[in-house]
Symmetry: C2
Subunit: 518 residues, 2 copies
């Protein structure tokens, strides 16, 4: 209303003369686009009917995500979007814009403070990573301190809403509470990284005597009901949106589903059809989790349209790491769940880090467009600040990401000189697997180098014709191998990255460029 | 800023001409006073160093509540303020303005839906009360439906914050969630009426395998710490206030302490001094709960002053029922904990319903003033709506309370023709006690009549010279007895109040006026 009124320019001048400047600036907030960041947990690049590869794969045919298809038709598909191999490093990078090597929340954070989740290892001592996660308050042991994204958006006039999985800090630290991170409203977010149960009939885990730290907080109104967690979160998100919509305030809705993380439970609305399609029971449950999550996306898109918000809302779809490919808990064959990508969650191979990413910004992104530029999770921080015109206050931390808004405007634009870096000096799982545990990686152009700290080995792949990372070219293209090893090393050293230390000698594992020069 | 600007009346007219009316009205919100309703649980009339009786009592000397003293000095003391004998009826009356006989949430609501908390009785069948509490949604079985107070305040422009005990609806119903009742922010409120633990070191009850439905939700950042629950809630309340204060939006902070309800645990900051003063260990713990709660009041008053909010904030202090006087869980002698008042929580005697109430409204209430007019919990609903100029939308329910704002302006004003009515057709505790279980009561002027449904007996007291209800005048002043019995009956019938039914005959217990006419 104020905006329309201000079109009467003579009066606008009069208002400015009378010192109305500040209110005018506030009125300008109405022009800021709303931001819906739809974040899925543990969803792989192929867990969708939207083809992100250059062909429709068997997995694309397995999963039904009609609302992701709808969003892809409306906006832009990023086919080379990355996160880190694990949830906590990704989520802290999102929150801060820092690379994991810098923020040092390199493994997943335990609910209980000061509890390392590193698996036991005979060769390496565990590194002293930030095992308590992120903290908005200085001086909390085992945390990285900085200015969180929602805080900056809130200060820029956004009504900030957190729904679902938070998992930014351990219990007993300020980071455990999303409202300490700049969220005005927190629904169901706490220190835990997955739900105890997705079932309303099981109170999402809050059953006396059986409750663990993973019981989902809040949502009591759905206790004893048949409302699946993904649905409850969506209903609560829409209720929380009422206030900013009524006030015509721009909102930032961080819709962070617990789905499709373990426990792999059936969403009864969709389970039967996947069983009928011939999936084994575990994979049918998994597919039902995916489709229940997709239904939430559809409900939110419907909400935006119904409330005439669709044109002024940026919708971003993302996942936090590759699809889980360990069997069990997944069904089927080990490490086949992200094909044609290699391996899955926890791995430096594409299966562990490449994500299904979609962006719709009406008036900016072209309907049904695709962008092949590689982008990474720490880019979300500067991107959202740019979208929200929230660049006035400098964050305390150094930001490693760079905004991808320029690709939204011009998807054919390319920057092949940029390098992306991953660093995981930890042991996630005792079993190991391809590219899993104690690894670093770098991508530049279509080239990718993986450094295995344990094996003291470099592997080089050309993703342009080998997305499955089947052909190691490290022995063939030594120039590219050494170039990337040097760049990876320089970046890691610049961030003061941690390297694990040998139990036997007390010496640190070599840097990548010390391997290549052998 | 807008308000000041509008003093230029010529421009104001111009703005109105241009259809600026709505924004002008919104700007007027800045003039609305903030409201801090500080609600204590199970605190008795004498659990304070502020004398509410006409002399300083031994209990006033026992308890240390320097911040209540400070608030009393700043504002007005109500010496005849009432709630109902139990938490749920009081809290639903607060939320709706309805008398408990009308809203029928007459006993305390269980966390688990459809679970009656009525104690077993051989004589009466349980009444069909609203055992699931309040619902903001129509058609939920076992609930009373209406428009909740915070919803109306929110619609009137208030930033509404819930902190602490909610206890308005059972799990599995919408009333379980304070954000369904008009609160924008909910900190630690859910379906339960007391905390599993006050201790941060015990995660307020959230200990895997030991967790009950009473574990306090949220507050994970304090897990494993020495932060007492009353302190954690206060810290969170101040954080939640940041947003409306920054935005210069009026706020409604419902600061509903879990203290001083059972479990009677020691607040380590104060426990030692009460032991040293010679109290037994239970009563020393209780006194420490009281003083920890009082410290919270002081911290909030400090916050208001520090942020220059003190002059535009109405502070109201209240409790939800009389102090618990059952032994155990209290120490000392049975029913002595509210002396000179008779009995305690659960009772129709003054010990069960008279509350320590304080109101400070700078510019309205006179410093250090006292008001002897009797007021009751359902008066808070219309009072807060009047204070917040939130009377535009009519609530769905019929409101039984009346605003006490006129007494704030003129404390010597009296209305002795008004009658207050209580109704409890339930069985709270198997043990019974004076005025406990199956009772109704009416106060008019200084006269009070109590009807015991079980005993089929009326008792009449003159509180003017018998605040301890020691001298039953029912046989002496039959005219007053019958007058009050008729008025009580008329009120109850008008509200369609429930009466328990005899197991033996299926007939309902008599109405009070059927007793007096014997």
């Amino acid at each position: 209303k104020i905006g329309k009124f201000m079109k009467n320019s003579a009066l606008a001048v009069l208002l400015l003369v009378f010192g109305y400047g500040q209110s005018l600036a506030q009125a300008g907030d109405n022009a800021k686009p709303n931001i819906l960041l739809f974040m899925v947990d543990d969803m792989g690049w192929q867990d969708t009917s939207v083809p992100f590869f250059n062909e429709t794969t068997p997995l694309n045919r397995r999963y039904h995500t009609p609302n992701m298809e709808r969003l892809a038709k409306k906006g832009m598909k990023f086919t080379n979007a990355y996160a880190t191999p694990l949830c906590s490093p990704t989520r802290v990078s999102l929150l801060t814009g820092m690379n994991a090597a810098r923020h040092r929340v390199t493994n997943w954070t335990h609910m209980v403070r000061d509890n390392s989740t590193d698996a036991k290892d005979d060769v390496f001592e565990p590194v002293s990573w930030n095992l308590n996660g992120f903290s908005p308050v200085e001086g909390i042991p085992g945390t990285v301190y900085g200015t969180p994204l929602p805080q900056l958006l809130k200060e820029a006039g956004y009504y900030t809403i957190h729904v679902g999985k938070a998992h930014w800090g351990s219990m007993g630290t300020p980071g455990a509470n999303p409202t300490n991170l700049g969220f005005l409203v927190n629904i169901a977010g706490h220190a835990a990284g997955h739900p105890q149960s997705y079932q309303g009939s099981q109170n999402y885990g809050s059953m006396p005597g059986k409750t663990t730290y993973h019981a989902v907080p809040g949502l009591q109104e759905y206790y004893g009901s048949e409302v699946f967690l993904s649905e409850a979160l969506t209903l609560e998100a829409m209720k929380a949106l009422e206030q900013p919509v009524k006030e015509k305030k721009p909102f930032f809705l961080y819709m962070a589903h617990y789905a499709v993380h373990t426990p792999i439970q059936a969403d009864a609305r969709y389970y039967g059809k996947y069983l009928e399609a011939g999936l084994d029971s575990i994979e049918a449950r998994y597919a039902s989790l995916v489709e229940g999550m997709d239904k939430s996306l559809g409900d939110l898109l419907d909400y935006l349209e119904r409330n005439d918000l669709e044109k002024n809302t940026v919708v971003i779809f993302m996942s936090d790491n590759g699809g889980l490919s360990l069997v069990p808990p997944r069904g089927g064959q080990l490490h086949t769940h992200n094909l044609p990508l290699k391996a899955g969650k926890g791995s430096m191979h594409e299966g562990g880090i490449r994500e299904p990413m979609l962006v719709s910004w009406p008036g900016v992104t072209k309907a049904g467009s695709t962008c092949g530029q590689y982008v990474v999770i720490e880019d979300f921080f500067p991107t959202l600040l740019e979208i929200g015109s929230a660049t006035g206050r400098k964050p305390l931390q150094s930001v490693d990401g760079s905004s991808f808004v320029r690709y939204l405007r011009k998807p054919e634009r390319r920057d092949e000189s940029r390098s992306l870096v991953w660093h995981f000096p930890n042991k996630w799982t005792g079993g190991g697997g391809p590219g899993i545990n104690y690894s670093s990686a770098i991508r530049k152009g279509s080239w990718k180098l993986i450094y295995s700290m344990k094996d003291q080995k470099l592997s080089l792949y050309n993703l342009a014709d080998d997305i499955g990372e089947e052909r190691d070219l490290a022995g063939t293209n030594t120039a590219k191998r050494d170039e990337l090893a040097r760049e990876l090393t320089a970046k890691l050293k610049g961030w003061n990255a941690q390297m694990p230390v040998y139990r036997s000698t007390g010496a640190a594992a070599k840097w990548p460029d010390e391997i290549s020069s052998r």
